[in-house]
Subunit: 697 residues, 2 copies
């Protein structure tokens, strides 16, 4: 599927171009004709002769040429017909603006459209969308009245209405756009197709995205490979939000924590507010990534400086410790009352020269990875001169610089100068710190990308086939819930440590098996007739191996006494888990449809109820990803050894996580898996699965 | 101290008025003379005859009248002299703009100024400040060049530089101002003095405040009584931020969690970003408080609607469940594709009539406590008409309404209309939800204020005197660390349950005392010669009362055998704490200087290290405040009974918290107190202090 014909068509037919002003069919044609698009544009309208002085054609087959793209604005039920006509003559791409499909329940109609596009090799955007703009070549194939300034940011939006607000606000945030498109119902083209195209587009440096759900398959694997920064805003953080988003496009909002994992693992920057979406995009579009996490703040006002330092630390970055040389140089020309340590306060009476010297010192200091420059408008402040100083130094130094000229009228000329000269500018300096933290997140991701994606196959093909048989057998027998021995067998095959156990039929066997297992043991009666084993005296705890024969006898005698009629199949001899030496951990997995299998890890026992300390990931895990799941647990300190407790065997837990991720991704048949708990023991002692269940479906 | 002469002086002398343009002394005089102030303004400058055509006077004593206020802009070292002159002739208030005091280490000079003001009854603002504006009477006694639009918001700022940025941005955020002042070094006047004045000022409805530290005493008690909403932005959330703020005014930033408690307990709204400060102030200045926490969202775009629903839920509010009547009415005129449930989506082609009908239905629905109205600019959108609809309905209904017209140029006329007609408008609709949550926080605070402030004296004067003696004796003996019996005595006197204990000198006494205590007991040898009691067989656990005599014998025999030379003073018989039945809780207190005594509660044991689950408060607690400290614990669910564990005795824990708060506030001599742990037991079984220490100082 080539998207070039969608973004750069040489000729366009507007099917449903209307002579009535104020209609979508009229707006789209007018926008294409009058806003500077260099290609040919043809109106298709069987009822009109002329539209804006252009000759109308009754249908696409009557055109003098074959247009590369069609924009379709006819009623929904006619769309399949006109799309088929497009296919017949060889139109390469189509934008279906028309609504009235899946979003109001017309699934069949939508599937028809999908099928026709696919059969005819048409690249289809929509249905039910605003259209597409290529600002760089003045193509406005939408019904939004105006295009924003041209620039290097592209925007993909699941909401058409949001596009118009974004376009209108772009200037205020200093953003220039390359491509803007609304995906609508994503009937054919979806996010990842478009992302991959834009990643190669030389006119795009940063991609902004608004989504309600991701419908692509293999999104994680494909998105992780992209080179350009992607900033996403997603609704559905709350349950109600999910409902609201889905009611308007017919999309199913997924669990937000799953999306959180998806974005983090694929190196996508997540914005939580519209204003963050703008600010982050602007920061990425005008800056290199920082080499490290240490930043300097340069200000002419202490208060905003302090707020920014707060934001630097809260966002996980650090304030740079300036070199002695820098401090000395700053001290050589700044007034006594100035702060020559980071944050550098050049004071309210600073003119642009103080900013110039100080900023150059900070940028040349090796301890500084980037600088936030704050300006408040005081009576002597040289707003535009200071903007020039920053723009000039930005040409020389590679480090990211984000300015915050605070205020409105008094600083407007300075803001405009910065915007025109490729310098980031945000309204409030605390936002600059959050932008820097996102640049650094991306830097870390790129540095770690190889490690993150380094997924090994730990399980042999033979093992896989063996487990495949076990699962197929269960499915054949319509057994969906796998527990006990069968769950243990599957987990063991994938290298997960379960409790050692054996069955003894007499006291001699008990002794032999017990010695094989070793350590403290649990003995349990095996009988189909005894429900409450404990009440029947059918369980013995803390049995040492050399007492297993007498233990066997005791259990048999107990049970014969309490339940003389019960059929006895033997005694289960099982390794005893030393719960008090470790921590109970839970591991779970669910099927997240097109997003793949999720994996969850958390603290078990009372921690689950009390603090819900869990983290998520998607797909088959690398070692680094498994490590990061554990590092993100709030109570992780418990595993590192606190208050005299020993450090736990984190390596073993990481292995277990990786193996579970391998198991659930190897078998699509596994719809749910719960290990609750897996016991993590002190370092060197490993983990033990105490209980588990697997649900097929 | 009357502040009227500071905010509304009839005449002003500018001491240090300068003829040189671009100086502070020139700016201040010019601002007072030329920006519409109706009172008399006199320049004081011994070296000039005329300034802006006004006669200059050599000093304040040579003026024809006694000015009500003096603005002082002379060098720091001359300030005491001119201030004394002011005092001599009866000037009522002074604004000292001059810098060069505490902030650069000149503490003595600052103290001189403070003393002179106090001795002469001068209300003193500053030193080292930007000055004061009363926008309502056009008095600009600052060196900031312009005043913002007049309105009902007042602003107190510890940073002068921030004032100028705020003034410049005000219009953009639709804010109008009444009084603006910068507190500088707070040499004499501090936050609470000014807050109390503004709370009574008929021209002020909302107070915005920027602080680096609160230096007032009794701030909590006094602020809690104020009627008007106060929104505060405070630096120093991070450690580095505290340093940054303090380096520029010489103020000592306190622990941010203590400030968090201070603001929450006094009903002050805390903003974490400058943009929140503006948005909250605007929301409060134009709305009544909501009666409940259920809100409706009205939008012409699904995406922004979903983002807003997310924000509603994340901020702790709820989406209103519309009445059947409302749903039916909405369904009667909205298109089929519209969402007639909350969030109500009137679709992209909505004109103002759909907004009008829908908004009226939502406002009249009893289930709705307030409405967020979102507008994105689509081709048919009637921006100004829709603004009018909102403004008109706001006149009729009391419920809060916050609009978010998204975009810039396309919606500007609508935004301006809203601003001019007293309707809240924020740039992004998620911000509207956060604003609503602050309105609701304030509503809850006012509803609960009586309860929150309902502090009882639980401890009798006799007990207080008894403990006073204990503490004085310890101080006399230079004993600063109180532990064991003496700490127990103090805590017991204040009604905190410590472990029951008694000393027996023979086995008969042991039996009698053990029966008095009851339950399982610990027996411990008392001997100055035995350090490791356990090694010497000097401790017995789990002793039942009727075995206490034989237990006594056993201990004595054990010790005689292992340490025949040891002097034996008897055997301690102590109630045994059943740790496994409950949870270990920690309670602590520190001295936070002018803010009073802090109180901390948290989970003990491994929870402390693992998740630092603690909450803070200040001062003597009411029952409601103590309850809220526990409700804010992340792991509070553990106390309510989870996973088959019983519910814990929360009432007893609340009593303990209240008693500790009473103890530490009764005795300023207590600089630190730690109860680690106090055991909370199942409901009805109370709490037990297991270990504690008190530090005097």
């Amino acid at each position: 599927m080539s998207l070039e014909s969608l973004f750069n068509p040489k000729s366009i037919a507007v099917i449903g171009a209307s002579t009535e002003t104020g209609t979508v069919g009229n707006d789209v044609f007018k926008n294409l004709l009058t806003q500077g698009f260099k290609g040919k544009v043809y109106p298709i309208n069987p009822k009109a002769e002329l539209l804006l002085d252009q000759k109308c054609y009754p249908n696409i087959t009557s055109l003098p040429i074959i247009p590369e793209m069609a924009v379709i604005v006819v009623p929904a039920k006619i769309v399949p017909f006109v799309l088929k006509e497009c296919g017949q003559i060889g139109v390469k791409s189509a934008v279906v603006i028309s609504a009235g499909f899946k979003e109001i329940g017309n699934l069949d109609l939508e599937n028809d459209v999908k099928k026709i596009a696919s059969e005819n090799g048409i690249t289809l955007l929509g249905v039910n969308c605003l259209g597409i703009m290529n600002v760089q070549n003045s193509m406005n194939a939408t019904f939004a009245p105006k295009m924003p300034k041209a620039g290097n940011v592209s925007f993909i939006s699941q909401s058409g209405a949001l596009c118009s607000a974004v376009i209108d606000s772009a200037n205020e945030f200093g953003l220039g756009f390359s491509k803007i498109l609304s995906t609508g119902n994503k009937t054919s083209l979806d996010e990842i197709d478009i992302l991959e195209y834009l990643d190669k587009d030389p006119e795009t440096s940063v991609i902004m995205m608004y989504v309600e759900s991701i419908t692509s398959t293999n999104f994680l694997e494909r998105a992780r490979k992209l080179e350009k920064p992607i900033i996403v805003l997603k609704t559905g953080r709350s349950n109600e939000g999910q409902k609201a988003a889905s009611s308007h496009t017919g999309a199913l909002g997924g669990n937000d924590q799953i999306y959180e994992a998806l974005f983090r693992q694929s190196g996508i920057i997540r914005a939580y507010t519209i204003s963050d979406l703008f600010n982050y995009a602007q920061a990425f579009s005008r800056n290199n990534l920082p080499q490290g996490d240490k930043f300097a703040v340069l200000t002419n006002a202490g208060g905003p400086g302090g707020l920014t330092v707060d934001a630097v630390e809260i966002s996980g970055l650090k304030m740079a410790q300036l070199s002695q040389k820098s401090i000395k140089e700053l001290g050589s020309f700044l007034p006594v009352a100035a702060n020559i340590h980071n944050p550098v306060d050049v004071l309210g009476d600073a003119r642009s020269d103080r900013y110039a010297k100080s900023l150059e010192i900070l940028l040349s200091d090796k301890a500084v990875d980037g600088v936030i420059v704050i300006l408040t408008p005081q009576s002597v402040t040289q707003v535009v001169e200071t903007a020039k100083v920053i723009a000039n130094l930005k040409l020389i130094y590679d480090k990211p610089i984000i300015a915050s000229f605070m205020g409105d009228v008094a600083v407007k000329a300075g803001k405009d100068f910065l915007f025109e000269h490729n310098v980031s500018q945000v309204n409030f300096p605390d936002q600059a710190a959050y932008c820097m933290s996102m640049l650094y997140f991306r830097k870390q991701f790129l540095d770690n990308r190889k490690k993150l994606a380094n997924i090994a196959d730990n399980v042999s093909e033979k093992t896989r086939k063996q487990i495949q048989k076990v699962i197929q057998k269960a499915l054949l027998e319509n057994q969906k819930l796998l527990q006990g021995n069968i769950a243990d067998e599957i987990l063991e095959a994938y290298g997960l440590p379960t409790l050692k156990k054996s069955v003894a039929r007499n006291s001699e066997e008990a002794l032999i098996e017990a010695k094989k297992i070793g350590g403290k043991l649990v003995l349990k009666i095996i009988s189909p007739d005894i429900v409450h084993k404990s009440d029947a005296g059918g369980i013995l705890l803390d049995v040492l191996p050399d007492k297993a024969d007498s233990g066997f006898q005791t259990i048999i005698e107990n049970v014969r006494l309490k339940a003389p009629e019960a059929k006895i199949d033997g005694v289960l001899i099982m390794e005893m888990a030393e719960v008090e030496d470790g921590f109970e951990i839970i591991i779970g997995s669910t099927n997240e449809g097109n997003l793949g299998k999720s994996l969850m890890i958390g603290f078990g026992g009372i921690f689950v109820e009390a603090i819900k300390d869990v983290t998520f990931s998607l797909g088959k895990l690398s070692i680094r990803e498994a490590e990061m799941m554990i590092e993100r647990l709030k109570s992780k300190a418990l595993l590192y050894g606190v208050r005299g407790l020993p450090a736990m065997d984190i390596k073993a837990l990481i292995q277990s996580l990786i193996r579970v991720s391998e198991l659930v991704t190897d078998f699509p048949e596994i719809s749910e898996l719960d290990i609750n708990p897996i016991l993590i023991l002190p370092d060197g002692k490993g983990c033990k699965v105490l209980d588990s269940r697997i649900i097929l479906g």
